[in-house]
Amino acid sequence: MKQQIVVSGIGGQGVLFLTRVIAQVAVDQGIPVLTSESHGMAQRGGTVLSTLKIGNFAAPLIRTGQADVALFLWDANLPVHQPLMKEGGALFINSNTEGVGERIDASAIAREMGKAVLSNLVLLGRAVNSNALFCTEGQCLEAIEKLAPPKFVEQNLQAFQAGLRN
């Protein structure tokens, strides 16, 4: 099993948490995983990108045209990060407008749940529902439970499930 995944957003949207959840699933399944992420100045509201390589890889960065799946939390990043995608790769976008890829207004769903930042897990739910990722619903639930702060586990699980249903 080998999969290359892109998570794109802006600082403060929970790109890193989403990345960690997916990576944790791989670890729990005993699959090697490498991720890269942005830190420091770039996280101050600017564009952030993390990449995940699941399976037998040596480095975390993804070459242009090689990503199998992409999760966009910020649709304005499409022109910047879509070139990383393989032709025919699975593209999931948090957006309330029409356009390429599978779209879901994850922010609206998360806002209804009382916390806009949960859009990251809503989008993950949507992608898992489409069977685009290497992992299953149950495996993701387990990883979220492991990583979310105890106080917010319930809320995080609900956000993920909302994504599964929508």
Binding site: H39, R44, G45
Partner: protein, 606 residues
């Protein structure tokens, strides 16, 4: 043995604990910060007592770790590449004088650069300082290097540098943990004045001994380049890579189905490079592709007539060696086709101060009060004040006050009116390198305004404690070193403090400060802009307020978006009015003053 998903920096931190390191000191800086944080978080996993500290700057962190090593214990100083410049003085001398217990200087480099003022290569610094340096290619490898690096340091009584790069520091990987060691060493400092106080008379001898050690270290079997032999289909060619460039190369070869078709060397220790390795490459290969970040440190030492690399121009001389960049270099070297699809070029949204950030209010007031002022600033989140045109220079930690003084002296000697110089410096940076500069400015009678942006944390690196907070690494209570008496002791006579959210008062104080700098008996004026960082949930909670609203009076002039640039505000292109993103607005109200039409009003119910 368990396996955990670890960030590279966390892996290195765990590695320090596994190796029985007992003193770890650091100054935070991306991409190195999480290394010490990891040691703090994992303190309970250590077998022996462990002292950790966020030192005031890197020179101090280095000297603290060095002294601990003199007592025979294992120690580490942690910093980013530009931090090594601050620690350069003790670092260079330590190469001659050596260490006792194993000492690692962990210096994180930032090719790209993603979050730094330059791309300098610590390996080159080590070559000039004559210090062995190790170049890990992944989080797992970085961790695995820590213990043997301590052993190497102890064997030769030399400081050893571990140099991860951003893509190692901030990658995550499944990493195997091993049981922490407990060397259980008791401090035992044996004075050796000829060595530890070496006067120039001793130095030629120490230098000679250093050179002899380096020759031996270069031949240490465990640290030799690792070779994966090719099948002979690319005879006379070799690939040489180190650090993350090696890992990227391995993936690229696999993707192109070229694994095992060409001889491949991974260099673990770029300096000192084994002379036999250099000979082997000279004698066995006509062409060698050298892939390394950031400078041609290996390539220079190889001096191979058929080397393709940064010196020859085959590999770009700046920036990260991303898989796309590597592809082009490899394709040219092996005679493959260049790639069709364009590499990602655009950068996306630029970074910006957070919604509700007190720095934004301070910068807006500074620019408004002194439209023609000169604004030197410094390293931290507040560098982003340049988006508000209230930051004109950013050089290196602490430079802003001395630069401000320099601007003043240059204008003053022309006679005539001097422009207002407003320096902005964060609280952490002030402690790091601002204090000597402030003393100098006072003594040289530089008439400048110094605004200390005190948000009670080291914000850009994620909130490490600052000396005036009364908290040390790991939350331990300590003495709080107040800024105001320090400033007073430095001879400053105008000192005021104000929350920059209170814009009218803040602007009034700025004008008063300006008067002070221009008064016959005046001098340097210091204004402390005090408001906690909004990244701190406690600060956010304490000032909970409803998002602001935009009324019908909005002219659509865009000033609040373009000049003030709060990320919670944007322009609604269709309706030509401003729009508030209720998810991001903290209701701080500092944008209200910006609108010429008074169309921004305090929020209603949450």
């Amino acid at each position: 043995m368990t396996t955990e998903l670890l960030m590279g920096n966390d892996a290195i931190g765990r590695g320090l604990i596994e190796a029985g390191c007992q003193v770890a000191a650091a100054y935070p800086g991306t991409p190195s910060t999480e290394i010490l944080q990891s040691v703090i978080n994992r303190r309970d996993e250590a077998v022996d007592p462990l002292h950790v500290e966020w030192s005031v700057n890197e020179k101090i962190a280095f000297e603290v770790a060095l002294a601990a090593s003199y007592t025979g214990k294992r120690s580490a100083a942690v910093m980013k590449q530009v931090g090594l410049n601050v620690a350069a003085d003790p670092f260079m001398r330590t190469a001659y004088l050596g260490v006792k217990g194993g000492m690692l200087t962990i210096v994180a480099d930032d090719p790209g650069p993603h979050s730094s003022q330059n791309e300098q290569d610590t390996r080159l610094f080590c070559l000039q300082g004559r210090v062995p340096v190790l170049d890990p290619s992944s989080p797992a490898e970085a961790k695995a290097m820590v213990e043997p690096a301590f052993a190497l340091s102890e064997k030769y009584e030399m400081n050893v540098v571990l140099r991860p790069t951003t893509r190692v520091c901030h990658s995550r990987q499944s990493v195997a943990l091993t049981t922490p060691l407990g060397p259980d060493r008791k401090s035992e400092f044996v004075p050796d004045t000829g060595r530890f106080c070496a006067t120039p008379a001793f130095l030629p001898g120490l230098h000679k001994a250093l050179n002899a050690k380096l020759e031996q270290i270069a031949k240490e079997p465990d640290w030799q380049p690792k070779m994966v032999e090719g099948d002979g289909s690319n005879k006379g060619l070799a690939l040489v890579a180190s650090g993350i460039a090696y890992a990227n190369l391995v993936d690229l070869l696999a993707e192109l189905e070229l694994t095992g078709t060409v001889d491949l060397y991974q260099v673990l220790m770029p300096y000192p490079l084994n002379p036999d390795f250099i000979d082997t490459l000279q004698n066995s290969y006509t062409k060698v592709l050298v892939l390394e970040e950031t400078y041609p440190v290996i390539e220079m030492q190889l001096a191979h007539p058929g080397a393709a690399g940064k010196l020859s121009g085959a590999v770009p001389k700046e920036g990260e060696l991303t898989p796309d960049v590597l592809y082009t270099a490899l394709a040219d070297f092996l005679g493959l086709e260049r790639q069709q699809n364009e590499a990602v070029q655009a950068r996306g949204q630029r970074p910006s101060l957070c919604p509700g950030c007190p720095h934004r209010a301070a910068f807006y007031s500074i620019k408004k009060t002194f439209p023609d002022g000169i604004f030197p600033s410094d390293i931290g989140c507040y560098t982003l004040g340049m988006n508000l045109e209230a930051v004109h220079t950013v050089h290196c930690m602490g430079a802003c006050i001395s630069q401000g003084a320099g601007f003043y002296q240059a204008y003053r000697q022309d006679g005539g009116a001097t422009p207002t110089v407003v320096v902005t410096i964060g609280d952490s940076t002030f402690f790091h390198a601002g204090i000597p500069a402030l003393i100098n400015a006072v003594v040289q009678d530089a008439r400048i305004i110094v605004v200390i942006l005190d948000n009670a944390t080291t914000a850009m690196t994620g909130g490490q404690p600052v000396p005036h907070m009364g908290i040390a690494a790991g939350g331990r209570k300590t003495k709080a070193i107040a800024i105001m008496p320090l400033v007073k002791a430095a001879g400053v006579e105008f000192i005021e403090s104000c929350d920059p959210y209170h814009q009218a008062r803040f602007e009034e104080l700025l004008r008063k400060a300006d008067e002070h700098t221009r008064h016959e008996n005046g001098g340097v004026a210091v204004l402390i802009a005090k408001h906690g960082c909004l990244m701190d949930p406690a600060v956010r909670k304490a000032q909970e307020a409803a998002p602001v609203q935009i009324t019908e009076d909005c002219l659509g002039c865009g000033q609040c978006v373009e000049i003030f640039e709060c990320p919670a505000l944007s322009m609604d292109k269709e309706n030509e009015t401003a729009r508030v993103d209720g998810d991001r607005c903290h209701g701080c109200g500092t944008c209200i003053a910006v609108c010429p039409a008074q169309a921004i009003v305090e929020g209603g119910m949450i």
